[in-house]
């Protein structure tokens, strides 16, 4: 494989109707020299940076606001990470958390594209000691 290769994770938001199978089939149909692996959250693609970029442009067109991507450190099927080889998967909690959050973020991306005005709420304030004492007294009765 070329030295300047890149591995990308394609993560589909839970609110999208696009399936990992659709993404994989699309990548196959592009006839680019890249490896694709279908996963539960979307797909992983690997190839030269140029080919990966071209594939990303095509994949994003499926659902521009609801398909997210990031670079992956380890190549596809690397024995240090691939579960087929009993590799560890330390990044999975992060991926799971972010995947859950994508249903909110995609709404933000759509709103930003529309130029929707947003109003920031003040951060939640801490409970005062006085109120805490009142709660303790109420519960203790």
């Amino acid at each position: 494989m070329a030295k300047e290769f890149e591995t990308r994770m394609i993560v589909i938001s839970p609110s999208s109707s696009v399936t990992p199978d659709q993404v994989t089939r699309l990548v196959h149909s592009l006839s680019l020299e890249i490896t694709v692996k279908e996963t539960c959250y979307g797909a992983m693609i690997e190839g030269s940076k140029e080919d990966v970029r071209n594939a990303l442009i095509a994949i994003r067109k499926l659902d521009p606001d609801r398909i997210f991507t990031k670079v992956r450190g380890f190549p596809i099927g690397d024995t240090r990470r691939c579960r087929a080889h009993h590799g560890s998967r330390p990044g999975f909690t992060q991926l799971e958390k972010e995947w859950e959050c994508l249903r909110l973020v995609d709404k933000g991306v759509s709103a930003a594209e529309r130029g929707e005005p947003v109003r920031e709420r003040p951060p939640p304030r801490k409970l005062s000691v006085k109120r805490l004492k009142e709660i303790v007294d109420e519960v203790s009765k």
Binding site: V11, F68, V71, K107, G108, V109, A111
Partner: protein, 144 residues
């Protein structure tokens, strides 16, 4: 422009930085260079002895080796960065779980470099997500 993201392995921040036309500096990119380099010893080692020495630039010898090891990877990214995005108030399983001190040191390094940065709150509902994306978009567009 090169934008450093905190946490440096975040999919959301990586995607948003790239979506709005900048180059994200991420942990995955730094790790990729190390794990595909044939000089790195057998798995699962992905930090070389030289890396740990490099960490001394960012943290003193009395600092635990785990922090120095992490900073050896994150520190050069902060040095390269033209701007930074920090996500705050995130749940504990969001980001690089394991070392809060490294996280604090990285925030200190960003402030010390005096590069433009923005702190956004982790979204818990739709409105907060809209605010987060709008703030990030505005910040990144303002960098050009």
């Amino acid at each position: 422009m090169k934008v450093f993201i905190v946490p440096p392995n975040s999919l959301i921040l990586f995607d948003l930085v790239e979506r709005y036309g900048h180059e994200p500096l991420s942990l995955m990119g730094a790790i990729h260079e190390r794990v595909v380099n044939p000089e790195v010893e057998s798995p699962p080692m992905n930090v070389t002895p030289d890396d740990v020495k490099k960490g001394l630039k960012y943290a003193g010898i009395e600092v635990p080796s785990g922090i120095r090891g992490r900073l050896a990877v994150w520190g050069p990214l902060v040095d390269q960065a033209d701007a930074a995005i920090i996500m705050d108030d995130a749940p504990f399983e969001f980001g690089c779980v394991g070392c809060h001190r490294t996280d604090e040191m990285v925030r200190y390094l960003i402030r010390k470099r005096k590069i433009p940065f923005i702190v956004v709150r982790y979204p818990n509902d739709e409105e907060e997500a809209k605010v987060m994306v709008a703030k990030i978009k505005g910040f990144l567009e303002g960098l050009q």
